[in-house]
């Protein structure tokens, strides 16, 4: 099946199988910031934004993205560097596998709720699992980024 997606503001056309997931379509075409972690819709490492909303690309059928806008970390360079540096400063970036997805999720949070409370940050990001840290340094970095320390 043929699909048209706007990825990071660029119109792209792909041929996909009916059961192909967006994570595969994107990775095949060079968007390598997307990770496949659990492959069970639970870890959040495959997060992308669909029309600005975070979704799990490992579980989203590519055909359903037809006609929609997809944002990956590659499309958010500036914000990614800002937030990424803050997380690194707090020691929250160890193996780095989950960081791209956490950054994208936080960007979506910022656009939905610019000044969230600690509880709101945790609630919004609790679908992004990290196996290296205890989430405390990430939270500190996110709070600095959002200006809600």
């Amino acid at each position: 099946m043929q699909i048209n997606i706007t990825i990071n503001n660029e119109d792209r056309t792909f041929k996909v199988r009916p059961d192909e997931f967006l994570a595969d379509t994107l990775r095949k075409n060079g968007y390598k910031s997307i990770k496949r972690g659990c492959d069970k819709s639970s870890c959040g490492a495959c997060t992308v934004l669909l029309d600005g909303k975070p979704i799990l690309s490992c579980s989203f059928l590519s055909v359903r993205a037809n006609g929609h806008a997809v944002t990956t970390l590659e499309g958010e360079r500036e914000e990614a560097i800002k937030l990424g540096s803050l997380i690194i400063k707090e020691g929250g970036d160890q193996c780095g596998f989950c960081t791209p997805s956490l950054i994208l999720t936080t960007i979506a949070l910022k656009r939905e709720n610019a000044k969230p409370t600690d509880e709101e940050i945790k609630h919004y990001t609790n679908g992004n699992l990290c196996r290296c840290t205890g989430y405390v340094p990430q939270l500190k970095g996110i709070k600095k980024y959002l200006g809600v320390e």
Binding site: P18, T47, Y124, N126
Partner: protein, 267 residues
Amino acid sequence: MFTIRELLQPDSTREAYQLLQTEAGARIIAGGLFLRLSDRLTIDKAIDISGLGLDRIEEMEDHFQIGAMVTLRDMETDKALNSYFSGVLGKSVSGILGVQFRNMASIGAPVAARYGFSDPITALLALDTSVELEDAGTVSLETYLSDRSIKKDLLKYILIKRDNSKAAWQVLRNSETDFALINAAVSRSGNEVKITVGARPKCAELATGAMEALASSEWNDSDLEKAADLAAEELSFGTNRLASAEYRKDMCRVLVLRALKEVRDAD
């Protein structure tokens, strides 16, 4: 992981329903998240219901009409819906995995499939809720959950009567984002009360004995305790990897009591 041989994209609910009846190996696909969990599932013909306009929450004259493809995240954040029933519907889904997941999972699927572990079914059953199916028409949620002869139908809408009832939500999980090992909801309008308990691990049911006892009581602490005990006695509980039947029964008492106090003290 699943394999889909062919993806059918009908234009109307009628067409989707007919494909489900006539095509061998056909299966409705909503968010696809639960289907995806199964090992080596092959779906010959997946009926995609995402293009049928079933993705809106609408305020009708005396009820909310919730399309089957409305996401759990929409249920969580919809202002109008959550201005009713003490926001119980939003609360019931807010603990299901992360925001990414809730942006994809549909509200229709767990209801249609009558998932025992479901959080939102428990909350919906505590309200005046019906489901509208393509073939069977509109039936109360209570009837739908118990009448297994309704199958191979397409759930189109969840209908919730709007009233001024107060409601409360309680759930117990071993850790956040895990499945509930038990959940409970209570709604109250005047002296009329509904108490539901789900993930027992069987699907939500009404605790009718406890509801009747409360209808003619003063709602003081000891009345509520008695009702919570009654609920734990009249409902059945089972054991699975999350919790034992005994633990569920004990926790049922605790959650129901908390929910009852919450709706009483909300006035």
